[in-house]
Symmetry: C2
Subunit: 390 residues, 2 copies
């Protein structure tokens, strides 16, 4: 197998994340899509395939076939280009980008659009809770009352006991997210959070409080990918995808080899580093899937930035915007927000801005590259991408 098709990100756009009561799924997707196309400096007719990413639209919005919906409403359907939806639970965004990447690598497409969208606030909180349990193993977890938050709490209990980690350490992940989000106009929550405020927030599932949990957000994000051939021919400046990797673990927590090591993350990261030729120490900044504060710590370890049980040593200083390894300059899932299908795509929007030096107040200093990590609820799927800056 010989291939010459490296893949570049040439455009990116997103809506504000938040409680967007007055806006529909299709409106959000279209706004993000058009911003991405505009940012790429291409025309809609140049797009050769659309990959949609969404997680719960069928249940919340009575709308499946989100790829088809976006294609219809953006007018891409006019050219009859393919529109496919990719779902990998809350890792759908990263997974959709990867499918577009493979499509271009295969030589089938030169320009691909990826659009992620989710509208979680169209339902009451308890209804959303029920629906997020459909992302777990329903028969062995969901039907017995387990929710994603309850599982994260179990993991946190065991992790905190075994490694002598206190709630304050977990809280520092959320504090870091809120600090960065305060500088991100697209973020769901822009308030600065203190460790004291975080640990005293309303309990959700012991030991996790409200400030340890990412919110249910609405929002959309889109990026445009192009082949090396296309980028060179059109003299477009793009961000190169150095590596793309995805790995899977058992869906049900009880089948896993470890409760607080996510093997999907370990394997995806290992494969991505191998493909990129880089090591964790070489990474300029990372966007990680900290849907719960505890997961942020675990992921820093499983991605290779700290040894197991030692992520706390990176907090709070090393992960700050001007730290050794800035984490979630966007504000992360806790504060930028977590509109499932859009979350992973939104990480690419942040990286596109950062690597082009256009992240303004939250700009990481001269980043050479970025690592992006998208994960299914409690670690069953992980998608890792490594991007190269300029």
């Amino acid at each position: 197998m010989i291939t010459l098709n490296d893949v570049y990100i040439i455009g990116a756009g997103e809506t504000k994340f938040g409680e967007l009561w007055e806006r529909s799924l299709r409106e959000l997707a279209t706004e993000a899509g058009l911003r991405a196309i505009e940012s790429a400096g291409i025309y809609s007719k140049d797009v050769e395939v659309l990959y949609g990413s969404n997680t719960l639209g069928g249940a919340i919005n009575a709308q499946n076939d989100i790829g088809g919906l976006i294609s219809d409403f953006t007018g891409l359907a006019h050219n009859n280009i393919p529109a496919i939806s990719v779902e990998a639970s809350t890792a759908s965004g990263g997974a959709a980008v990867r499918e577009a990447y493979l499509g271009i690598r295969s030589g089938e497409y030169n320009v691909a659009a990826v659009g992620g969208v989710e509208k979680l606030t169209d339902l009451y909180g308890s209804e959303v809770l029920d629906l997020t349990s459909t992302l777990l193993d329903s028969e062995w977890e969901g039907f017995f009352g387990a929710t994603p938050a309850a599982i994260a709490a179990l993991v946190a209990q065991k992790y905190m006991k075994d490694f002598n980690v206190d709630h304050e350490s977990l809280a520092m992940m959320s504090v870091n997210d809120h600090m960065n989000a305060s500088k991100n106009p697209d973020a769901h929550y822009r308030n600065v959070l203190t460790v004291e405020g975080a640990v005293s927030s309303t309990m959700v599932a012991e030991p996790l409080g409200m400030m340890d949990c990412s919110p249910a957000s609405d929002g959309a994000a889109a990026i445009i990918l192009a082949s090396e051939e296309y980028v060179k021919k059109n003299k477009i400046h793009g961000i190169k995808i150095l590596a793309s990797a995805v790995a899977q673990d058992y869906l049900a927590l009880h089948s896993r080899k470890s409760v607080y090591r996510f093997d999907s993350t370990v394997v995806a990261a290992r494969n991505a580093f191998k493909k990129s030729g880089l090591k964790p120490d070489d990474i300029s900044f990372a966007e990680i899937h900290d849907s719960y504060s505890i997961y942020g710590l675990i992921e820093l370890e499983d991605l290779g930035f700290a040894k197991k049980g030692e992520a706390k040593k990176l907090l709070p200083d090393d992960i700050k915007l001007d730290g050794r390894i800035p984490v979630n300059p966007s504000g992360g899932l806790k504060a930028k927000g977590n509109p499932f299908g859009a979350t992973g795509v939104g990480q690419f929007v942040e990286a596109f801005q950062q690597l082009n030096g256009k992240a303004k107040d939250r700009q990481v200093k001269s980043p050479a590259n970025a690592l992006l990590h998208s994960m299914a609820v409690s670690g069953s799927t992980s998608v890792v991408h490594i991007l190269e800056g300029n």
Copy 2:
């Protein structure tokens, strides 16, 4: 772009389609998957990626992330190989195969499994009806009471009037499906149907009766794809995928250029024929997405087997098992059954058996190739594959 990676189907398996009350989603998927692996003569550990196909599991079975579920229950998760779900409404099966095909073409994988599964009978009929409307444009079709059957009926009314086609012609599609299904042990309905019986069946949406509509089925189907390199190295006999194409039209019927020409099918077929170097006259047999009898006629035209309005000329003789262009030797959606996520994958199972000369009573005589067509509800997505026999 240079690539040497042709893609072959090396194994296929499915469950019986039907009302499988006593069997769970995961059981069905596992049975089909293990049959496919056994048929390929490989081990589970040889599989490098899993693509899941499912349409309504989130709503019907409270289970999203079907790729993850299959990976978990089949034990593939043990090796941490990627598991991704693909959704393109009722074209999910064909779309999932295509993603696996692109993954291998890209050089990323040598062996890919595709598993489609659906359990539609876990709900009452009217509930299923509500859910199938989530595959339409919800805001502009579903919320106003349109269902897939109602839309098919609108299309049928206009088609029958403009081209002077009677109900008997439509019925002949169903009659052909039932005749072939009577010879298929995996089929949902194995009874032989007469034209008189078909046209006098209970009305669903005028002019379409029960015998013009595919049933809500349970079932699973799986295939194993492998790269040219893998097939040669292991001296495996495979069925080559000559062409893979997908195209999209507007989701909402009212936005289409024509009510009874499915441009997604026209474009996907045109691209597939171009890639394969074949013409419609060269095709040995076809499996088409006749979820409604009227769609069978329209698809025969849009795939290039007849001019617009003239599909009736192919009925009933040309489409029979020993006719000029045998259609749906499996029994098609009407009689083999329509478990959405499994339907398109099931077409590959049939083609694998036919092209290997193992379809027994329903064997098409010495087929040189096969065309497979998977479609989203009312024509918004079409996936066309052309396979080469031995």
